[in-house]
Each structure stands twice: as structure tokens, then as C-alpha cells.
């Protein structure tokens, strides 16, 4: 065998070993985290977790109010943030693609995208919690929406930019008004990517703790009342609201063994929710590539 070739092979072998080692090192932590989480969290998993309220120390209980609270906060945040983000992204990719405003918005959006979430929490504390005089679920949802918006703006714009111009031209050439071209053709072509963006935004906010500490805070009870579900729902929005990340934060730092156990279980629930969302996002992206 040629000496040059042998050296190249040897070098290739070394580089490959180093890359694999680096990958294993990186992935190892993830496996450890998931392992501890499964080990600690799984043992606490029971039906009671999903049906009972957070207990006082020493008593039995579950995570029903933070789970429902997290669901309400997330859904509200997505309901507020997604339309705003999608419309802004649509403006940037479709109507104002070449405008100055778009580049300014894009720049600001990138800053917002990487802004520490605690800053968002303090901001909403200033503009909502302080004037209202109390913490509230609504303020928490708005804080999360502020985190959702830049993610959705970015993915919407990126996905619409990927729609080939020929498709827009072909639709326009049939005499379709701009709004119909965008809503019926471009959105359809970019649908999978845009939904992926929303899923990623949900994944991003479902573990956020810092902004909620400043806004929704926590609540050991809830205002939800089966007899008047609608009015009590709106009442509960105006009150502090429990959420999984904040409850985990509080319980994990507590000295009580049963609270710590519930914190592990809550962490497990969040992690697997995010995992499921990521897998759904991946599957959607894959289906987009196929079509």
C-alpha cells in the first residue's frame, strides 16, 4: 500500500475516533439527565398526580392544578402569540419583503428571540402585574406569548421565503388577488413548516420558569368551579396561577421529600411533552420534504 494513502487512512481513523468520542461525551449527559429523570420521576408517577391538587408538606397530593395551569397558560400564550407572529412573518416575507421596515423588524425580532426570558418576565411585571396590583394567569400567558411571537415570526418568515416565487407568480397569473395567493397557496405550501414553528414555540415555553415567577406566580388552589366553568375560568385568569415549571422550582428547593418527589414527576411530564412535540415537529418536517 502506498505510504501517502496509509497516512491518510491513519489520519482519518484518528479524526473519526475523536468525533465519535465528542459525540458520545455530549450525548452522555443527555442520557444521564434522562436516566435520572426517569428513575426519580417514574417512581412518583401515579393516577393521583393527574387528579389531585398540590398538597401541603407531608400530605398526599398530585399536580392537577399546575398541569391544568400550564395547559391554560400555554394555550393562551399560543392563541395570543401565533396570530401576531404569523401576520408579522407574513408581512416580512410577502408584502414587505424588500422594505426597510422588514429588515428593522427582522433585526429586532432576532434580538427578542435571544432575549433572556427573565427580562420578559420583568417587563410584563412592569406593564401588567404592577398596574393591576396582583399576579395573574393572564400576565403569565402574555409573558409566554412575548416569547412565542419571535419564534413564530422567524419560522413563518423562513418557511414563506422557501415557497418558490414561481408558485406566487403562477397563482397571480390566474388573476388571484394577493391575499388569496398568500392564504390559499403560500400558506398551504408552507403549512408543515409553519406548524412546526408553533410546536417548537410551545416546546420552548413549556419549560419557562423565570417569566412566570414574575407574572403568574403560583397558586395552591384554583378558582375553577365546575358549577360555573366559564365565569370561574375568567376569574382564575385574574388570579395567580400554578404552572408545572414554577411548582417544580418551588417543590425541588423545599426540604420535604414528598414535594421533591412530585417535582421530579413534574419534570418528567414536561420533558416527555416536549419530546412528543419535537417528534411531531420532526414528522411534519419529514412529510413536507416528501410532498
Amino acid at each position: 500500500m502506498n505510504a501517502l494513502y496509509a497516512r491518510r487512512r491513519r489520519r482519518n481513523g484518528i479524526m473519526m475516533t475523536l468525533s465519535v468520542a465528542a459525540t458520545l461525551f455530549g450525548l452522555g449527559w443527555l442520557v444521564l439527565i434522562l436516566g435520572v429523570l426517569l428513575w426519580q420521576g417514574f417512581s412518583g408517577l401515579s393516577l393521583a398526580v393527574f387528579t389531585e391538587m398540590t398538597p401541603p408538606p407531608g400530605a398526599d397530593g398530585g399536580l392537577l392544578n399546575p398541569i391544568v395551569g400550564s395547559l391554560i397558560l400555554t394555550v393562551l400564550a399560543v392563541l395570543i402569540g401565533t396570530p401576531i407572529g404569523m401576520l408579522a412573518g407574513t408581512y416580512m416575507a410577502e408584502y414587505g419583503r424588500h422594505s426597510r421596515l422588514s429588515s428593522v423588524v427582522r433585526f429586532i425580532n432576532d434580538i427578542l428571540l435571544s432575549a433572556p426570558s427573565i427580562v420578559v418576565g420583568i417587563f410584563i411585571y412592569e406593564v401588567m402585574v404592577f398596574p393591576m396590583g396582583h399576579f395573574s394567569g393572564l400576565a403569565g400567558a402574555v409573558a409566554l406569548a412575548v416569547i412565542v411571537i419571535p419564534v413564530v415570526v422567524r419560522t413563518t418568515e423562513d418557511m414563506l421565503m422557501l415557497v418558490p416565487n414561481q408558485l406566487r407568480e403562477a397563482a397571480s397569473a390566474l388573476g388571484l388577488p394577493r391575499a388569496v395567493v398568500i392564504s390559499k397557496v403560500c400558506y398551504r405550501a408552507a403549512k408543515a413548516g409553519m406548524i412546526t414553528g408553533v410546536l417548537l414555540a410551545i416546546a420552548r415555553i413549556s419549560g419557562e420558569t423565570a417569566p412566570l415567577l414574575f407574572t403568574a406566580l403560583n397558586n395552591q388552589f384554583w378558582a375553577l368551579d365546575g358549577k360555573a366553568p366559564v365565569s370561574s375560568f375568567f376569574e382564575s385568569l385574574n388570579a395567580p396561577m400554578a404552572s408545572l415549571p414554577v411548582v417544580i422550582f418551588q417543590f425541588a428547593l423545599s426540604p420535604y421529600k414528598d414535594w421533591q418527589k412530585l417535582a421530579w414527576t413534574g419534570a418528567l411530564i414536561i420533558t416527555f411533552t416536549v419530546l412528543a412535540l419535537s417528534i411531531a415537529a420532526r414528522a411534519l418536517t419529514a412529510s413536507r420534504k416528501q410532498s
Binding site: L167, E169, A171, S172, A173, L174, G175, V185, R188
Partner: protein, 316 residues
């Protein structure tokens, strides 16, 4: 509608017979700019009712640009502008008051690359119809059936109208785009290299369709590199070079005979302008002169010759 007379201004250098033709679109001193770059220079010409006109020219000569002016497609982009006058049934379509959606519904366009919409085959075809006409379901179904029939696509899609248009092959997609365009019954159809994605059978389909459209009085404007295709279907040919019209006329006018070449014992003689009918007379004359004849060739210049001559060997 103004009837074009022989005196219609034209920059063509070839003889043009325009008697009895009706102007559908008349272009007068049209200039087009991409930013500062001038892509079309002082173009003046007419497109006639129920005629197929072809633009030919090397890449970058402004063929596609010209098509995109006629349905104001360039309006989608900043820094692109046109000046001059383009009269469509007597109305200036370059006017800022022109409603672009209505204009594009009347002047359809098929693009070089097939662009099916991400929806079912049925919806692809029905999309444009639904926009401007409220038809009962049965009538809409009929329209959705007749367009792909005319584009020779029906047999391939009739069982799967609910499937995505993206699942079709390239050639099928292109015929779907053609079907989609003719479904809205435009008065003028612009075809930007329509046959480049099609196999020979598909090209023949387009040819037959063009003849049918011509029969319906639709004006068709296409650009293509396939000169042989053009000779077969087009009523008029326009050669563009560097954004200017070099020459225009019917394919026959552009592919005029160059003469008859006689090879005799006294050398080769070219009788310019002579035709095939003149050959017996020329041969008889030569024999009377006492020349021995070794060969007779009728020289015809094809559209390709004319084209190559016009563009001066400037190929892409």
C-alpha cells in the same frame, strides 16, 4: 378594437402581411427596465386576434421579460418598470389604473417550470374558475373535466382528481398548469417555454391545443427555443436580440427561398431568388447554352438559418 392596416407601424425588416388581422394587443415604443438595466428597447408590434405568435432569440434577449410585461407580472417586484404603451383591446394596460387581477384573469400565463398548487388536482383546475364565476357544482365539474381533456391530461388523472397535484410527473404537472390556465377562458395566453418540460407526445399535445385555441379566437404568445416546433404551429415569428425586435413575419416569410444552385462544367452558379418551379427552365436554359450539368440544388433557408443569421451566431 382597431383593425390593423398595412400601414401599421412596425420595426420589422421583413415583409409583413397584416391585412385582415385584428389587433388584440398593440405594443408601442415599449421600454422595460430592471433597475437601471434596460431589458427591452423601443419595442413596437402587434399581436393579432386568434393568431399564434412566437418569440425567438438567444437567452437573455428579453423574451420572458416581454411576456411578463403583458400581464404586468413584473409588478410583483420592486425596481422593475415599463414605459411606452401596451393597448389590450384599446386599453393601456401599463396605466396605473389597470386592475391587475382582472387583467391577469383575461391574459393567462403558463410558465417554463410546472408549478402545481399544493392542493388536489380538481382544486388546481377549479381554483381560478371559482374566483371569478359562481357555477353550480355540475357545471364546475364539467369545466374541470373539459380543460384537462383539451390538455390531453384527462385520461391520466380522471380517477384521482382528489389526489395532490404535486404527485404527478413533471410532464403531467405542466399539462395540469396548461389545463388550469385554459380553464378560466383567457382571451390571450402567454406561454413561457411551455414545451421544455414535455416529451415529444406532450409537445404534440400542445401543438394541437394551440390550433384549437386559435380556432376559438384566442391569441397565443409563446417563446421557445424549439424552432422546428415554432415552424409547425406559429402564424407569426418575432426574433428578439438584445431587447430589440430584429425581424418579424410569418414563418414562410422568414424562411424564404435563397435560390437555385447549378453545378456545371463552367463552375457553380447561384441563381438568387429562384424557386423549385424555376428549375426546369434554368436547366433548359443551361442546356441550350451548351453547358453540362452535374447537379442542381434548391437552396431554402430554414427558420433556423434566418435565426442564426439574425442573431449573428450569438448563441448561448
Amino acid at each position: 378594437m382597431n383593425v390593423a392596416s398595412v400601414a401599421v407601424p412596425s420595426v420589422s425588416h421583413a415583409p409583413i402581411s397584416t391585412v385582415g388581422l385584428t389587433d388584440k394587443i398593440s405594443i408601442k415604443s415599449l421600454n422595460f427596465y430592471y433597475g437601471d438595466a434596460k431589458a427591452l428597447k423601443n419595442i413596437s408590434m402587434s399581436l393579432y386576434q386568434g393568431k399564434v405568435t412566437a418569440y425567438i432569440g438567444p437567452s437573455g434577449c428579453g423574451k420572458s421579460t416581454l411576456l411578463r410585461v403583458l400581464n404586468r407580472m413584473y409588478d410583483l417586484y420592486p425596481h422593475q418598470r415599463a414605459d411606452g404603451e401596451v393597448l389590450f383591446d384599446g386599453q393601456d394596460i401599463l396605466s396605473p389604473k389597470q386592475d391587475l387581477n382582472l387583467l391577469r384573469a383575461r391574459i393567462g400565463m403558463v410558465f417554463q417550470k410546472p408549478t402545481p398548487f399544493p392542493m388536489s388536482i380538481y382544486d388546481n383546475i377549479a381554483f381560478g374558475i371559482r374566483l371569478y364565476e359562481r357555477l353550480p357544482k355540475s357545471e364546475l365539474d364539467d369545466r374541470v373535466e373539459s380543460s384537462p381533456k383539451r390538455a390531453a391530461l384527462w385520461d391520466e388523472v380522471k380517477g384521482k382528481l382528489n389526489q395532490s397535484g404535486l404527485g404527478l410527473s413533471g410532464g403531467q404537472q405542466q399539462r395540469l398548469c396548461i389545463a388550469r390556465t385554459i380553464a378560466v377562458r383567457p382571451e390571450v395566453i402567454l406561454l413561457d417555454e411551455p414545451t421544455s418540460a414535455l416529451d415529444p407526445v406532450g409537445r404534440r399535445t400542445v401543438r394541437l391545443l394551440l390550433e384549437e385555441l386559435r380556432g376559438r379566437g384566442v391569441s397565443v404568445l409563446l417563446n421557445s427555443h424549439l424552432l422546428s416546433e415554432i415552424e409547425l404551429v406559429c402564424d407569426r415569428v418575432v426574433i428578439l436580440l438584445g431587447g430589440e425586435v430584429v425581424t418579424a413575419g410569418t414563418p414562410a416569410e422568414l424562411a424564404s427561398p435563397r435560390g437555385v444552385e447549378l453545378e456545371t462544367d463552367r463552375g457553380t452558379q447561384l441563381v438568387a431568388g429562384a424557386r423549385r418551379d424555376d428549375v426546369p427552365r434554368l436547366v433548359a436554359d443551361a442546356v441550350r447554352d451548351g453547358r453540362s450539368i452535374y447537379g442542381v440544388r434548391v437552396l431554402t433557408s430554414t427558420l433556423e438559418d434566418t435565426y442564426l443569421e439574425a442573431v449573428g451566431g450569438e448563441t448561448d
